[in-house]
Structure formats: structure tokens, C-alpha cells
């Protein structure tokens, strides 16, 4: 899926010569200390950043779940999600299903601005489930979730893999699914000193 990928941000090389491949039904886990370029890699694969070197191929349909909510704060959750559903060609039933998968069905009528940290995270996940995407790019998907919600997240992720989806997640919190690839990123300082 990726070929000698490199990324430079703020004049600093975050990674280079990165190779890995995930086939349908496989999940990859990104780990490593803060600032090592995990989020940048996810944004790059989502098409939000240009690689400074190398290339990658990714499925046409992608969903990115990062720390930004991208839901209208003043709208009830269901209506806020419906905007994305309409863009992705989904219907009301799909919105309800996504909210149920994220354990938010009881909050459908509550404006998003009243949500707690964990509920906001689950709203992000619901938006991701709703997108018609083969590849899920998840940045700390379990942040702020309680144990039960992490279990729920695990079931949703497993469901996506069983349907032939691909997942690449960066997480410090152990996720309850089996990862096929573990990409451990290390800071590049020593490497650069050699060159």
C-alpha cells in the first residue's frame, strides 16, 4: 500500500522510506512516542498532506477519525450526522445504525455542544462508521472512552474487517482486535546524525 513514503513537516523529516501493505480485512497499528509522525502519516494517507517522497495507493473511499469533530455543535446529533450521510449517499436508517454502533442512540436529539469528552469521541466514531469507506484511518480512536465503549469500538472495528475493510489506527490504548501489522515509529534523530 505504501512505497518508500517520506514526510517533511516544519522543516523536519518525520519519516522516510516507509514501506507497508495492508490487504482487505487487515488492520495495522501505529505506535510510537508523541510527535513521531503518526497523525501526519494518517493525514497523508487521507489525502490531506502531500508526501515529500515516495508514493502510496489507497482505496478510493477513506474515512478519517482524528481529534476534530466536524459536526455542527448547535445541531442535535442525528441532524448533524445526517449532513455527512447525505454527502455519502446514506439514509436515515444508516444514521440510526451508526449511532447505535457507537452507543449514542439515546443522545440522537441532544445538541452536540452538550456532549462530554467520551460522547464526543463516540460521535466522531459514529461519523466514521457512517462514511461509506473501505479504509478507516483512526487517530487515537479510544481516547476518552470508558471500558465498555472500548469493547463496543472493538466490535465495530472487527465488523468492518469482516466485511473486507482495512483499518490503520494510531493508539496508545490497547484496542480489542487482532492487528496484522504493528508499525512502531521511532524518532529519526540518530538516523539523521549518521547521514
Amino acid at each position: 500500500m505504501t512505497e518508500a513514503l517520506g514526510c517533511v513537516r516544519g522543516g523536519r523529516i518525520l519519516f522516510r522510506g516507509l514501506h507497508f501493505a495492508l490487504s482487505p480485512g487487515q488492520a495495522g497499528l501505529l505506535t510510537g512516542p508523541n510527535g513521531v509522525g503518526k497523525s501526519s502519516l494518517l493525514r497523508l494517507l487521507a489525502g490531506l498532506l502531500e508526501p515529500s517522497a515516495g508514493s502510496f495507493s489507497a482505496p478510493e473511499t477513506k474515512a478519517l477519525c482524528d481529534d476534530r469533530l466536524a459536526l455542527d455543535e448547535h445541531l442535535p446529533l442525528e441532524q448533524a450526522l445526517r449532513f455527512w450521510a447525505r454527502l455519502d449517499g446514506k439514509g436515515t436508517a444508516d444514521v440510526a445504525a451508526a449511532m447505535a454502533r457507537a452507543g449514542l442512540d439515546h443522545l440522537a436529539e441532544v445538541p452536540v455542544r452538550y456532549f462530554s469528552t467520551g460522547q464526543r469521541q463516540r460521535a466522531r466514531l459514529a461519523r466514521t462508521y457512517l462514511a461509506n469507506a473501505r479504509l478507516w484511518l483512526l487517530d487515537e480512536p479510544a481516547n476518552g472512552l470508558d471500558t465498555e465503549s472500548v469493547e463496543q469500538l472493538g466490535r465495530a472495528l472487527q465488523g468492518h474487517l469482516d466485511e473486507g475493510g482495512i483499518i490503520l489506527a494510531a493508539s496508545h490504548i490497547p484496542l480489542p482486535i487482532a492487528f496484522d501489522t504493528n508499525l512502531r515509529r521511532e524518532p529519526l534523530e540518530e538516523l539523521e546524525a549518521c547521514l
Binding site: R9, R43, A46, G47, L48, L49, E50, K62, A63, L64, D66, R68, L69, A70, L71, D72, E73, H74, F83, W84, R86, L87, D88, R127, A131
Partner: protein, 216 residues
């Protein structure tokens, strides 16, 4: 694709009318028009001569009011990121924003100009010219607002900077817009239309480039 763009535009327009943000420029416009006769006195001739120009300046200032709500909130909230992930281009996102902003800015401003012209004693042909020139210019004003909002998104003190940026860019509009109100103003409307088209045409590219630069 067309349906998706309509969905994006509809969301913005609905949000703008629902939040009351649409009426802020209108109220500002009417207050400026109300204050002017108090300042210069009730001399009917003077008001007739200067009223159109004042309404034009008020329209430019009203353009500044919604600047911080045009791009910044959606950029911060990750809405644009999500649209890009879905394959929309920066230019398309900004073009949709231009249309939605004009829909919630142009018609209410024209309505306010119609009300305010009564305070200046404008009527008949003069009123018609004023409304025509504002109708031609509102797409350009909306375009300028979207461009400046995209350029200053994420900066501290974006409001003040936006004001400084608008003034030089809006001068051609003001010259031909207010110029069309004078007796020999026929071709001024055509020039105004040309400038308006130009500004509308470059908005998606200029503001789109600003959006993609912010992402880096």
C-alpha cells in the same frame, strides 16, 4: 456531485439564517443609514447628493462583519478536512462557500438598501440605479469576504487584518459602484459588472490556495 454541492450550500445557508448571523449586516446597514442624516442634518438636497455614496460605503463595511464566521469555524472543526477526504477540491469547497455566503448576504443587504434609501430620500431612477449597482456588486463583495476569510483563517487578530485587506481590494468596486449613481453613470455599471465577474472568478482559486496552504 451536484447534489452533494447543493447539500453543502444548503447547510451553510440554513446555518447562517438560523444563527441570526444574516441579520447582523442588515441591522448594521440600517443603523449607519439612520445615523447619517443626524450627522449632516436634514438638508434634502445634501442627502440626495451624498446618500447613495454613504449607502455604498455602508455596504462595504457590512461586508466585514461576517468575516470571522465564513471559513474559520469549519476549518477549526475539521469540516473541510472531511470534505477533502471525500474527494472535494479546495476550489469546489470555496466556490460552494461563495454561493452560500452570497445567498445569505446579498438579498438581505439589497432589502436593507431599499429600506435605507427611504431615509436618504432616494427614489425613482436613483433608487433603481443604487439597487442595480448593489445587486451587481454583492457577488463580488461576497467573493472578497470569502477570499479574505480564507487568507486570514487561523491568524490572531484576523478581524483587523481583514479590514485592512478589504479596503484596497474594494476600491474599484466603490469607484464604479458609487460612480454609477452620478448623472453620466451608464457605463460605470458595465465596468462594475466586469470587476464583479473578475472577483467572483478568482475567488475559488485564491481562497482555495489559501485553504490548502493552511493544511500544510
Amino acid at each position: 456531485m451536484i447534489r452533494a454541492i447543493a447539500t453543502i450550500i444548503w447547510r451553510d445557508v440554513r446555518q447562517s439564517y438560523a444563527s441570526g448571523g444574516t441579520w447582523l449586516p442588515v441591522i448594521f446597514y440600517l443603523s449607519a443609514a439612520t445615523l447619517f442624516p443626524f450627522a449632516v442634518g436634514p438638508d434634502r438636497e445634501l442627502l440626495l447628493q451624498t446618500g447613495g455614496g454613504i449607502l455604498w460605503i455602508a455596504a462595504l463595511l457590512a461586508t466585514l462583519l461576517p468575516l470571522d464566521r465564513l471559513i474559520q469555524p469549519d476549518l477549526e472543526n475539521g469540516v473541510y478536512d472531511q470534505l477533502i477526504v471525500r474527494g472535494f477540491s479546495d476550489e469546489l469547497i470555496v466556490a460552494a462557500r461563495l454561493v452560500s455566503h452570497w445567498l445569505s448576504f446579498g438579498p438581505p443587504l439589497l432589502f436593507a438598501a431599499f429600506l435605507a434609501s427611504g431615509l436618504m430620500g432616494l427614489e425613482g431612477a436613483a433608487l433603481g440605479t443604487l439597487l442595480a449597482s448593489l445587486a451587481i456588486a454583492t457577488p463580488a463583495l461576497a467573493g472578497l469576504a470569502v477570499m479574505i476569510a480564507a487568507l486570514t483563517a487561523g491568524l490572531k487578530g484576523a478581524g483587523a487584518l481583514g479590514g485592512l485587506l478589504l479596503v484596497p481590494l474594494a476600491i474599484p468596486l466603490l469607484i464604479f459602484g458609487a460612480g454609477s449613481l452620478s448623472a453620466q453613470g451608464g457605463s460605470a455599471l458595465l465596468f462594475l459588472a466586469a470587476i464583479s465577474l473578475l472577483l467572483v472568478a478568482i475567488t475559488p482559486f485564491a481562497a482555495g490556495a489559501a485553504l490548502s496552504a493552511v493544511r500544510e
